[in-house]
Amino acid sequence: MPPVTPPSNTTLGSVLIQVDHLTQRYNSDGAAVLDDISLSVRQGELLAVIGPSGCGKSTLLRSIAGLESPTQGQIHLDNDNLAMVFQYSALFDWLTVLENVAFSLLEPGEGRGKPAFKSADDPRLRSLVQEKLAVVGLEGAEDKMPNELSGGMQKRVSFARAIMSHPSIILYDEPTSGLDPISTATLEDYMQLLQQQLQPAAIVVTHQLSTVTRIANRVIMLDKGKICFDGTPQELLKCHQEPMASFVQAAKAV
């Protein structure tokens, strides 16, 4: 996989995601899944979140997406134009690829006024969806059902759905898990392309070192609910402290 130059930090815009002293517990007397986490992500920045399984990466993402209420602390998003690419794609089984990708335009959600399009049969909507599907290399798939697509293709549809509303914040929950190396590299390229075109504030939770080194311009590592590393991918690769060194070594071996 050829290395891609991540965007320079000097081109980053204002802070779009601000997390202050976030603590997350699932049981009132249980251990904290996230323990006093503070971070910020700027416009155009792609932050990679790494760490061992169960360290709270997905919980952090779910909290930022508003799917979990923080036990303590605050999460401030500059605006609510947020999209999320889920680990298992989360495409709606009962809708076609076209209806999935166009979902945010057909169902605008609470407090967002009338839908931009009344019907999925609208030719203007079809051409918009075709445009997004072309970005992820899925031309002609708009009338297929999600179960007719491979796992990698479903991830790409999920990606197309996420970019349909031109989000200013994108959250990726292990977007490349379960994909072969070629599909992984392709998806990473799409993420990189999106960063360059839309300049969103993005957070990607991943176990893949390639995702971190190829497209992220900042990386944090979580361990036992706390941030134990915050720096650039280059700094991570040079770090000899534990648990970062073990992570890098294990990831390189994979």
């Binding site: 997406a65 889920f86 089984d93 609470e110």
Partner: protein, 275 residues
């Protein structure tokens, strides 16, 4: 020795009684908590429906599933219920000169109790269990989360159309299955007790009040609401892997049966009870 024996027996009796009482208290606590959650869930649903947040096309498509899939099972169950009641009473009553009451007995038993219950059983088995499994599947595969991220309320998008569908489907089916049960009863009365159809249907007409039909429809609607709400709530609360889908389906059936039994007693007491 006897004093020691008595003391020992009391020592084992008290913890057992205490455990039993604690079990009852715990069971009551769980039941009341569940009831509270179901009431809160229902309140949210009513609010969404009143505020017209539910698309007509969405609940119409659910209505066709909720009304058509249990149609055959509910019809067969009610037909045999009517036939069994007629079989139990027709020949005996005809012998004792009470043949004119057979139709009334079958009609009252069916319309007041059996038709709503049997129809709801069929809807729970075929629709409630499917809703529980379907929503559990959507929940564990993060599709419900995907809706939330896109600011689409899963209660309005997924739950309300299903609950409206079951609330409408059960009364509609009950009307049909009551008629089928009455026809089954008429046929058995004629075959077993040689009771002419005219006498049977005259008896039905005379004894069956409009109020019975109204209560029957109300009961059916309440059962429909309960089974739809319970199935959807159980599905949305599913956690874990694929086994959660099966558990949600089973739990939705069990809780629906229990809720229906309790609601049936309360409604019967309100409309037909002495106190």
């Amino acid at each position: 020795m006897s004093a020691i024996a008595t003391h020992s027996s009391e020592a084992t009796w008290f913890p057992k009684t205490r455990l039993f009482l604690l079990g009852i208290v715990q069971g009551l606590y769980i039941a009341i908590a569940e009831l509270g959650r179901l009431a809160s869930f229902s309140y949210q649903l009513v609010t969404l429906i009143v505020l017209c947040k539910v698309k007509f096309s969405r609940w119409m498509s659910q209505l066709s599933f909720a009304a058509l899939s249990p149609l055959l099972l509910a019809s067969v169950l009610c037909c045999f219920s009517g036939m069994v009641i007629a079989l139990q009473v027709a020949s005996e009553m005809a012998k004792q000169g009470g043949g004119t009451f057979v139709g009334a007995l079958v009609a009252l038993a069916l319309v007041r109790e059996l038709a709503p219950i049997m129809t709801s059983f069929a809807v729970i088995a075929l629709v409630g269990s499917a809703y529980g499994a379907e929503l559990a599947n959507l929940t564990i595969r993060q599709q419900v989360d995907a809706l939330r991220v896109m600011h689409v309320n899963p209660m309005a998008y997924l739950v309300a159309p299903r609950v409206i569908a079951t609330t409408m489907a059960v009364p509609m089916l009950t009307v049909l299955t009551s008629v089928i049960g009455l026809i089954g009863g008429a046929w058995v009365s004629e075959v077993v007790a040689s009771l002419p159809g005219a006498i049977y249907w005259d008896s039905v007409n005379t004894q069956l009040d409009m109020r019975d039909v109204e209560v029957c429809l109300l009961k059916s609607a309440v059962f429909g609401w309960l089974l739809g709400a319970i199935a959807c709530r159980t599905g949305l609360n599913a956690r874990g892997g694929s086994e959660a889908v099966g558990q949600a389906s089973t739990q939705s059936v069990v809780w629906s049966f229990l809720a229906m039994a309790v609601a049936d007693y309360i409604l019967t007491n309100i409309f037909y009870g002495e106190f």
